[in-house]
């Protein structure tokens, strides 16, 4: 085994240049003035102060709100879906899980454009509605279209971990609950739900993290004025060119994510130490 250890060296070099160095640069950018040069670095807290201006705080607030809504929708739709899939026979389960993951094989951009053609004012849905004599609904460039896009994009990240924890579950515990007098509902709430908690937690974590840091979907389905944290960072780097402020926002987002992951690990019964 010992000689295999050397194989890790390229990876260490690789991660150093692609993860550690950029992270260090982000930290450096976020605490220095934009006018700084390599030889003349001036530190400043102004970028962090700027984040607390109402216009930017609102972006954070909006992103968190959307992330929470997306996560809740994914969980309420994804749990039953995972549960139903786990009840099917093994061969059917394979097909159903494949169906859940198929959208992931297609580029996000394409999938999002598909939503535009469905949801826009003269899109497929509205045309169908008008055929049926129902007044068309304005759906594009609203919270609805963004959440719709996010939910569809992130659903597999909720369904798959929950499905895994449900199928991994020791079925004799379900029998034990029935044996001790639990009806179907009680068996679900008192045993199955608790045993699938690790899957639920990793599902929530993944969907929430991905939804608060996304920028393609809100940009395409939310329109130009629709700004979330991801869009804000993109703007700062690509269109405005304020790398320093962009880095500060990225750093705050990273801190929020780290804090959330710590919190999620705490309530995960598998991790122990929660008690």
């Amino acid at each position: 085994m010992k000689h295999f250890k050397k194989l890790i060296n390229p990876y260490i070099v690789w991660s150093f240049f692609l993860i550690v160095v950029p992270l260090f640069l982000i930290v450096l950018y976020s605490i220095t003035k934009g006018t700084s040069t390599l030889v003349n670095i001036t530190f400043t807290p102004e970028h962090f102060k700027k984040i607390f201006e109402p216009v930017y705080l609102n972006v954070f607030f909006k992103s968190l709100q959307l992330g929470i809504i997306t996560t809740i929708v994914c969980l309420t739709l994804g749990y039953p879906m995972a549960y139903i899939i786990s009840k099917a026979s093994e061969s059917v389960q394979g097909i159903l899980i494949l169906l859940v993951t198929i959208p992931m094989w297609i580029n996000t951009l394409l999938r999002t454009y598909a939503w535009i053609s469905l949801l826009s004012d003269n899109g497929l849905i509205n045309r169908l509605l008008s055929v049926m004599g129902i007044a068309p609904a304005h759906m594009m460039y609203t919270d609805f279209s963004v959440i719709m896009g996010l939910v569809c994009d992130l659903m597999p990240f909720m369904v798959i971990p929950i499905h895994t924890s449900l199928t991994k579950m020791d079925h004799s515990l379900v029998e034990a609950a029935a044996d001790l007098g639990a009806n179907k509902v009680q068996t679900f709430t008192k045993v199955i739900l608790k045993l699938s908690l690790p899957g639920v937690i990793s599902g929530i974590t993944m969907v929430f993290l991905l939804s608060i840091s996304t920028f393609v979907i809100p940009k395409l389905l939310g329109g130009a004025q629709y700004t979330l944290i991801g869009n804000l960072i993109e703007q700062q780097f690509i269109s405005i060119g304020d790398w320093n402020f962009g880095s500060a926002i990225s750093l705050i987002l990273a801190l929020i994510i780290i804090a959330l992951m710590r919190f999620m690990n705490k309530i995960d019964p598998d991790e122990k130490g929660g008690e």
């Binding site: 515990l173 029998e175 029935a178 001790l180 007098g181």
Partner: protein, 357 residues
């Protein structure tokens, strides 16, 4: 004695009545017509090799499987119409199946909590039950950190605290080491006598079955081979399968010349079995410990000691006669190669009907 005669040790009310029970899994028949009466306060063991259908019977009584045919009556009521959570039976599972997210106390209290029993009564019952299985002071322990034997006790307490009329035990001692298994055997028997309910115990371990049960049901291939007390099963096996499965035995084909007269290996023996047809082909079971080694001139059978193995309490010899090898257990020592005689008392000879196959 007629080998089909089944001695009832004690007369008590039937609690579970199984009639013509069959069970198919896909195209495989695992139970082929089981008829069985289980009584109140009985310690009944379903004994058989793996795949004989013993666990399936238990799972049908618990409600985890539905019978393909036949009926199961519980105090005269059709059990199959009652969902498993409403049945007055509880199960101790093979791998204990304790809830990993609950501590010892909450695992035991699970059933009572579901029934919305008063908290104080729950506390009283759980404490008493943990005392019965010897786990006082373990209330707050994490079940996943307990030893196998302790988890076993929690599983027993969790089932018994619901005061079931019947406790089902699915090979509960299988995962324990030999010494702990012996201890738990004694303890289970004690608990059964203390709580005074019916235990249905599934095992493939014949020693376990013999030492704990009031009644042993020997199963093979989905068919009941014999029902009887441990003593009946051991001393009067009804067929070759039972004789082979329970204890060690010499099984010899012979002829029943008359009541109490049997002939095998060209020698006539007086026995105690009656009721066979004249000259009926039968099989004889001789337990190795029942064969007495005597002087050559006194022997009904004569042979040479060809193998000797020390087994702790006794020696195991193979005595070779001109017809066959006999396995003999005795505490006396005999040198290899010597010629010996063997004698059989009438009640050491157990005559069985020949099996069809």
């Amino acid at each position: 004695m007629n080998p089909y005669y089944i001695k009832e040790k004690k007369v008590s009310n039937t609690i579970i009545e199984i009639k013509g029970l069959t069970k198919n899994f896909d195209d495989q028949q695992v139970l082929r017509g089981i008829d069985l009466n289980i009584h109140e306060n009985e310690f009944l063991t379903l004994l058989g090799p793996s795949g004989c259908g013993k666990t399936t019977i238990l799972r049908i009584i618990a409600g985890f499987e539905e019978p393909s045919q036949g009926e199961v009556l519980f105090s005269g009521e059709d059990l199959t119409k009652i969902p498993s959570y409403k049945r007055e039976v509880n199960t101790v599972f093979q791998k204990y199946s304790l809830f990993p997210f609950l501590n010892v106390y909450d695992n035991v209290a699970f059933g009572l909590n579901l029934k919305k029993v008063d908290k104080e009564i729950i506390h009283e019952k759980v404490t008493k039950m943990l005392g019965l299985v010897g786990l006082q002071g373990f209330e707050k322990r994490d079940v996943t950190l307990l030893s196998g034997g302790q988890q076993q006790r929690v599983a027993i307490a969790r089932a018994l605290v619901n005061e079931p009329k019947v406790l089902l035990l699915d090979e509960p001692l299988g995962a324990l080491d030999a010494k702990l298994r012996k201890e738990m055997q004694t303890e289970l028997k004690k608990i059964q006598q203390e709580v005074g309910i019916t235990f249905i115990f599934v095992t493939h371990d014949q020693e376990e079955a013999l030492s704990m049960s009031d009644t042993v049901v020997v199963l093979n291939d989905g068919v009941i081979q014999q029902i009887g007390t441990p003593i009946d099963i051991y001393n009067e096996p009804e067929n070759r399968f039972v004789a082979n499965f329970i204890g060690e035995s010499n099984i010899i084909e012979g002829t029943m010349l008359d009541d109490c007269l049997v002939k095998f290996d060209d020698v006539e023996f007086v026995c105690v079995d009656k009721g066979f047809k004249k000259n009926e082909e039968i099989e004889v079971v001789l337990r190795p410990e029942d064969i007495k080694i005597v002087d050559l001139k006194d022997g009904q059978l004569r042979g040479k000691v060809v193998s000797e193995v020390f087994k702790g309490v006794h020696y195991e010899y193979i005595v070779q006669t001109d017809k066959r090898d006999y396995k003999v257990h005795t505490t006396e020592f005999y040198n290899l190669g010597i010629e010996v005689g063997m004698r059989l008392d009438p009640d050491d000879i157990h005559v069985m009907y020949t099996m069809e196959y």
